[in-house]
Symmetry: C2
């Protein structure tokens, strides 16, 4: 080893020891006859001292060191006169007797400090330098520790990690598959897996009983929001279980992560049906760090007992299927400008609402709405009761139809949560969302599609609805939500041939189509498939939530940008004609 100790471990207990350290020059200061250098490695920082009076030569050498030079020093551990209680090594320094430059360094294009002056692009281009910064490195150490704990927990429950293939087969539905031309089988392609779905089900047919894998998956899609073309899943499957078993085992996994990584004892996770989540929060992944439930002033369900007069004279309400709102507590004093900002927010094309109605519950108890000419004090009192508003609150209302207006209000709710500081990154609110619909209507093909995949099992009691009201059929499908982000989910699978055939019929698959698309899995199911189900967690996402970060990019060592490019290595890139020729491929642009 080129060192006897790391830069993060020497303390007052080591006084007098002769040590050798190696690392990077973090910073240096000259004070009269003394030179101080901070030497840094992954483990910490240690102060080095050089005294010009005692050893002029080495002091001169030290003064010539640039930032980020790689050095090796030997010297004696001595007590520091001005201690630094913020770091482990803050009580000591090294009086250096030998200094060797292991490597010089060009001046980095940005500061290697916790708060750097480098912009996003620059830091991505020099990602290897960005990774030297503590916060970035700590994210990856956190990721490592979390992967370790995931494995510890699942190993302890007899799960077996099995590596499934990366070079698989493209399916006709795999429009977003990355494909890989084979040189040995020219004209033919492998595909990269969007998930190991089929393989984990095959492993259940094989009797593996409890499978998991922390595994890279791939999707060649437009990278809206916070996606990466390659991402990591904690992929799991169990046999001889029911939905409740999956929920327990994997709630246990996440609780174990909270306990082992953050020292937090989480309560049992609340559960909510998909229907309730949509009705109360307008989202299948509600952020439960704050309440602010939806209140319905008018809805098809409330027709018998509406809070609004069905003929209020206010055309927007009278024509709307749904009038719903939230109570923004303590916001009655919002200025005109603030309310305009909210209106602009919901009118943005991504949200697409047409207007915002509000009602202030003033400190003096008086209710003042933006639609005072249509609603008198008595009517507004009814609103206030419905919203349980108190003096100082602000009621925000949207009108429209169905899921559309619910999703708009959901966005407004999250925005208010942000404004009110209710979405603290150190607060963690997990939630199971259950009973997802089995099918969703696809406008383009004018038929129902499986919401997850065609092997998802319907609730037994809903099977009869497949003929009469397919949209109402609930699946044994579940999502785990944390702070408004879906972190995991999947389903109990169909293992019964007849039910599977029924499903394919309802999805409009002929027997031949089903065979073509899912052939080998269908074949495998003929040989004795056990009841089974599983879950997959987005590992990047969970780590970023644990790290309190907004983007998954920050927990990936070498991420790609929004165009799927790695700007550090400049990839993707063109390949040589020779390579194309070997692959028997032509590029047609």
């Amino acid at each position: 080893m080129l060192r006897t100790h790391t830069c993060g471990e020497l303390t007052i207990r080591d006084l007098g020891k002769e040590v050798t350290l190696a690392g990077w020059v973090q910073k240096s200061r000259d004070l009269g006859g003394m030179t101080f250098i901070d030497i840094r490695d992954r483990y910490g920082v240690t102060q080095l001292t050089f005294n010009a009076n005692e050893d002029a030569k080495i002091c001169t050498q030290a003064r010539e060191l640039g930032r980020e030079f790689v050095i090796q020093i030997s010297g004696k551990v001595i007590e520091r006169s001005s201690k630094n209680p913020k770091i482990t090594t803050g009580d000591i320094e090294i009086k250096v007797s030998r200094l060797q430059v292991l490597n010089t360094a060009k001046l980095p294009p940005f500061l290697i400090e916790d708060d750097t002056d480098g912009g996003d692009d620059l830091r991505m281009r020099y990602r290897y330098l960005d990774l030297r910064r503590n916060p970035v490195r700590n994210n990856l150490i956190l990721r490592h520790r979390m992967a370790q704990e995931v494995r510890n927990y699942l190993n302890g429950l007899n799960f077996i990690e099995v590596e499934t293939p990366v070079l698989i087969k493209s399916t006709p539905e795999g429009a977003r598959d990355f494909v890989v031309p084979s040189r040995m089988n020219a004209g033919e392609f492998y595909a990269l897996p969007q998930s190991p779905q089929t393989f984990k089900q095959l492993l259940m047919v094989s009797g593996f009983d409890r499978y998991f894998q922390i595994v890279k998956c791939f999707r060649d899609e437009d990278l809206r929001a916070d996606r990466q073309p390659e991402f990591t899943q904690i992929d799991c499957e169990m046999a001889f279980i029911e939905q409740e078993d999956i929920l327990n085992v994997f709630e246990g996994l996440v609780r174990h992560l909270f306990k082992s990584i953050k020292g937090i004892d989480m309560d049992t996770f609340p559960r909510m049906t998909y229907a309730d989540a949509m009705r109360l929060y307008g989202s299948d992944k509600p952020d439960l760090r704050f309440e602010m439930k939806f209140v319905e002033l008018k809805s098809p369900e409330k027709q018998a007992n509406p809070i609004l007069n069905p003929r209020s004279g206010f055309p927007i309400f009278d024509q709307a299927e749904l009038v719903i709102g939230i109570n923004a507590k303590g916001c009655a004093e919002y200025t005109r400008k603030q309310l305009d900002e909210l209106t602009d927010f919901i009118k943005r094309p991504q949200i697409g609402a047409t207007g915002l109605i509000y009602c202030r519950h003033q400190a003096d108890g008086i209710l003042k709405s933006s639609v005072d000419k249509f609603f008198d004090e008595v009517q507004l009192q009814k609103w206030s009761q419905a919203f349980e508003s108190k003096p100082g609150d602000l009621i925000l209302i949207l009108a429209g139809s169905g899921d559309k207006v619910r999703k708009q209000l959901s966005e407004l709710r999250l925005e208010m949560g942000n404004r009110l500081g209710l979405r603290n990154k150190n607060t963690f609110s997990p939630l199971w969302v259950l009973d997802f619909p089995l099918l969703e209507w696809d406008e383009e093909s004018q038929r129902y599609h499986a919401m997850h995949h065609p092997f998802t099992s319907p609730k037994t009691e809903d099977i009869s609805l497949l003929d009469t009201n397919p949209a109402q059929v609930r699946a044994n499908a579940y999502d785990m939500v944390l702070n408004g982000a879906e972190i995991g989910g999947e389903s109990i699978r169909i293992h019964d041939k007849n039910l599977q055939a029924l499903m394919f019929k309802h999805l409009g698959f002929s027997k031949e189509e089903a065979q073509k698309q899912f052939g080998f899995l269908m074949d495998a199911f003929e040989f004795g498939a056990p009841p089974h189900g599983g879950i997959a967690f987005g590992f990047d996402r969970i780590v970023s939530l644990f790290a309190g970060l907004d983007s998954i990019r920050d927990v990936i060592a070498f991420p790609k940008n929004n165009s799927g490019r790695d700007i550090m290595i400049d990839s993707p890139s063109t390949i040589s004609d020779e390579q194309l020729k070997e692959l028997k491929l032509g590029v047609e642009i």
Copy 2:
């Protein structure tokens, strides 16, 4: 859970318990009024009994079960009258009171038994059924446990597992890269990594200090021997170390695996230089489970003191640069037929020797050679001394030149090891081979190539030879060998710019070429690269050696065949014109 216990855990201590099991019907026997069924899951087998006199209905039901049906049963644990000491559950059986068929099964195309009747192709096509067999499943459980222990060991030494990207950049030298067309960047390609080499070196520049990853790598090459297009490496790198540190840490890893997986305390691994390995065993990965070292009767080094008369009159010896042989102990009684077999063996085109000379050291002490007319008893006595032969031994000799004849003799040595039963799969002989040559001559391009990669550091004392005798320059490069298979290896890297420039000069790279091919790594090295080095282990190979298997295929859940095809999923395969169009690609066959 659909069971209270697994099929592998009930023992005499559970007598009287009411239990529920679920699993596959392994086999069933009717004996008069009794039906016995073995139910199997991943954990074991339990015997079920059905008594026609006591419960005719359930007994009838049981008799209708086919092999591999998936069933759930409830019943009482009772003592077995004829016990089976071979299995954990052999003392008990379940008197079944309830039987439910969870799934029927078609008759499998081969027996789901330890010794199956299925051929290779059939078992690969139905890999999910092959995986039900104990030996196959146990291989994957072993693999899982070994991965766990690798992580335990490296975690314990402060290594961080970092996921490096799978979608990287193709390099001009990457003729065997799999490439991945990008839809979002049409006409451009990612490449799949042959190893995370550059990224792990970048992580060292980033100060990660100790990195590892159990990671899939990819190579689109002709799959001679026992290769797979996707394979798994234990990839590692350390900073601020010297070669000795790498050897110690990773010898420790393999010793830990032997201890934790097999309960074997391994001695310190022997070390041998590449030069000695070639000289004594004709191989850079000698199988040290048995001795049988090469003996040189004539060689350039022995010219001053040859064992052979330089003008023996036997033209094959007289013309050969090298006359070398082995002593096959106890084989003096080999028949003409056996000797012919050996001659045929070395004449096979893969080996390519022209002939075999032998000398029997008969039980009566007399030496009888196949070249008696050229060598008298006195001369043969000299051979015998050189080979330390005893009555009963057989000396086998090849003549030729340089490494070629050494490799031929190496094959013969291994063959004799096989014939003499000296290559026991339960004996483990590890070895470090050190001081590999830095460069190798490439006939095609008529220049020296880096044996491993251009960042491999030369031995300091050999640098001056770069100008005078490049082939003699030794590298700080090492391989770990186990039972004649290379299981890991790599090198200490060059971190010094000037030395790197010198290397590129000697490899015939212009500055521009070097920049183009290794640009971002070269750039990174400008910013303060620490001294570093690493190693990568072939995980598939190590597992197969631990499992006592010949092929890595058997330790891969879903392997590909020798043409790189997965015949279960039928991949690679053609993709739709639509997909090709989206990728702006044309297939030109």
